[in-house]
């Protein structure tokens, strides 16, 4: 036991070392590290780039698709539709949109959203790109107001976005006409803006048309500018004849508005944003509205006013001085007396009348009536039978006392020319009726009996025979002369033909002919009057036929 010792026992007591495995980190851990870095970076990006999520409500989700439909501003994607839900009460859909990160400052209460689809309206085709690429949501960002997550989407894309510079105005019109959002607005026939929107006022009496005039043209809208409907074709058939007016071919199809500041008026300062203007139906109305100072009268006519319309001109010696504003029938059923009261308004500026008190005005017009001023209905256009009111000083009138009707002065009138003619003709007929036709007939009969006797006498027969012979001779002469006379006759016919052609030329020139015709009618009236007088005199002094006209003074 002592010799055979374990070698290990020989050695001094030694501890077995603790062997530690190499614990260095293997290079393979780089792989998950890289994966982690990439994953972490992606996750970080996803979190930080996550923009605000907003809810926009629309009437319908037509064309929208969750996860696909984009929100675009100036055709750059700024968001994507995440989800589309139907609202609890089924009235609309809620579109959940995840916006891009930077969009937050632009998402305020004033921001608006709409769906862009292909649209053909108001002379424009928009959103054609959406036919291929699908609908997208348009956004008009705004930095005004506070951030919000709930929006109500617009059903129609706004025509003018906040980016366009210019001014908005409101036009008040009695009716919309053919205007539509997008209808053009012209200034000197250049398109300078568009109709943005229209709405009825609360009472439903007026249409407010919102328009937008682009910069730099908005400067031309002044406080006294006038807007009128340049809608389509302005066809006017009035006492002035037929007139066709249009602003442009586009407005011909979709309507439009034009405006101008009349050069006769002084230039007022530029109109402020959202100023209100009146929208006139025609350029003429807009122009006539320059005459703001008006004097109103009534004219009493005994005859029919058929053909006289409201708006018909009131003329004095061919100048328009006013318009007809109203027509009414004044009836007195007791006496069965009817007359038409025509209300006219005379534009003082057209007459360059001085401004004065109403009483002085009345006096002035009374004086004019005393001087023979009378109103008369005249035919302005033979073709259409449109009438107008004409004032003229007349010598042949009886004195008239201007009355009053509904607090307005009533000016006297004389029957129209056609009326005068009619009365003259009828009185002539009456006189004709009173002629002793029967007696004349009787006398004629006895005369004819005498003639009969004369014709049937033998002398007469002889005469007839000799006449026959003479006629035969004449015939012979005629046949010989035929060959010579006919060519001459033909020549005359040709001349007549050219004459007729010339006359055709005169006839087609209309204006002088109408004048001539009117003159002729007046002449005819005079003639009729003369006939009247003649008949009258003949009735009283039938002997004048034989003895000639005697002086009236002699009894």
């Amino acid at each position: 036991m002592t010799d055979q010792t374990n070698p290990s026992a020989n050695a001094p007591m030694a501890a077995t070392p603790v062997i530690k495995e190499r614990r260095s980190i293997s290079i393979v851990w780089l792989v998950p590290l890289v994966a982690l870095v990439i994953g972490g970076w992606l996750a970080y990006k996803a979190v930080t780039e996550k923009g605000p999520v907003i809810n926009v409500s629309f009437q319908s989700a037509n064309g929208l698709e969750a996860g696909k439909t984009k929100v675009k501003f100036k055709d750059v994607e700024v968001g994507v539709v995440q989800d589309i839900e139907i609202y609890n009460d089924l009235s609309h859909v809620i579109v959940k949109i995840e916006m891009h990160k930077g969009a937050r400052p632009y998402l305020t209460e004033k921001t608006s959203f709409w769906v862009v689809r292909a649209r053909i309206a108001a002379g424009q085709v928009t959103g054609l790109g959406t036919l291929l690429g699908g609908a997208y949501i348009g956004i008009e960002p705004s930095t005004e107001g506070v951030f919000t997550e709930q929006y109500v989407g617009l059903e129609k894309p706004p025509i003018v976005t906040g980016q366009t510079e210019g001014r908005r105005f409101t036009l008040n019109a009695p009716r919309l006409g053919s205007l539509n959002p997008g209808s053009p607005i012209y200034f000197r026939q250049i398109q300078v803006g568009q109709v943005v929107d229209f709405k009825l006022d609360e009472e439903g009496n007026n249409v407010g048309v919102d328009i937008f005039i682009e910069s730099p043209y908005h400067r031309f809208v002044r406080q006294n500018s006038r807007f009128w409907v340049a809608s389509g074709l302005d066809l006017q058939l009035s006492a002035n004849g037929l007139r066709v007016d249009t602003e442009s071919i586009v407005s011909l199809m979709i309507g439009g508005i034009a405006f101008t500041t009349f050069s006769e008026e002084k230039q007022m300062p530029e109109a402020a944003e959202r100023s209100q203007f009146k929208l006139y139906e025609t350029l003429d109305q807009a122009r006539d509205d320059r005459y703001t100072q008006k004097i109103e009268f009534y004219i009493e006519f005994a005859d029919s006013v058929r053909g006289l319309s409201i708006g018909a001109p009131v003329e004095f010696r061919g100048f328009q001085i006013g318009t007809v504003t109203d027509l009414e029938l004044k009836a007195d059923f007791e006496k069965l007396a009817f007359s038409t009261m025509v209300r006219i308004s005379i534009e003082r500026q057209r007459l360059s009348l001085p401004e004065e008190m109403e009483e002085d005005q009345t006096k002035r017009f009374m004086r004019m009536v005393d001087g023979g001023l009378r109103a008369q209905l005249k035919t302005g256009n033979l073709l259409t039978g449109q009438l107008f009111v004409d004032f003229e000083y007349r010598q042949d009138t009886t004195a008239a006392v201007p009355g009053r009707y509904k607090d307005l002065l009533v000016l006297p009138s004389v029957p129209s020319t056609s009326q005068e003619l009619m009365t003259d003709v009828s009185s002539f007929m009456k006189k004709l009726n009173r002629l002793p036709l029967e007696k004349i007939g009787h006398d004629l009969q006895s005369s004819i009996a005498g003639i009969d006797q004369l014709v049937n006498s033998t002398e007469m027969r002889k005469t007839v025979h000799s006449l026959e012979r003479i006629l035969a001779e004449v015939q012979a002469i005629a046949t010989t002369s035929n060959t010579e006379t006919l060519p001459a006759f033909n020549a005359s016919l040709a001349e007549i033909q050219t004459l007729l052609r010339n006359m055709e030329g005169w006839v087609s020139a209309d204006a002088p002919l109408y004048d001539d015709l009117r003159n002729t009618l007046e002449e005819l009236a005079k003639a009729a009057r003369s006939i009247n007088e003649l008949a009258d005199m003949l009735e009283r002094h039938p002997e004048a036929l034989i003895q000639g006209k005697q002086s009236e003074a002699r009894p």
Partner: protein
Amino acid sequence: MKTTSLVACHECDLLHQQMDVPIGGVARCARCGSSLYRPKRDSLNRTFALTVSGIIFYVIANIYPFLGFRIGSQIRETTLATGIYELYLQQMSIIATLVFLTVIMVPAVNLLCLLYILIPLKAKRVPPHLAKVFRLYLLLKPWGMMEIFMLGILVAAIKLVKMATIIPGVALFAFMALIFVLAATSVTLDRHLIWDQIKWQ
């Protein structure tokens, strides 16, 4: 210290005594010369590291858009899942199921199996049902066909290039990384190391 155990040759079934082989060396069959096993350096750690990165890539590949197609101004992005769902919607449910199993399901199960095995082993403990889990892993491994799916995608994309602009997504790159990482795990994993953990009577 290893307990002496026997190992059979893959090819000719000759039993050998298992012996320590230096790193980088290889044990060959005495009879047919085919390789019996080669010890792998730091097998557990490396495999675990690759598994962890595999899981990260797997998550990225499944969350982010895989491919985008742009026709005109319309962009259509797909993820792996929406692609499979799309196949299903187009009445190709069998193909959809196949793709789902081979591309999404099998890699996920494989990765989870590896995690289940490796985490306890690194803590020097043996997880319960190690044998069953490891066998499941070995069974499913051939069914992971991400490479084939990738090739299919490439062929389809090249054919579509003329019709649309193709925008490769983040997931596509993660998917490719996942393919390599999964291949690497099968290289670094020492099977004998796992089987040796299991006590048998």
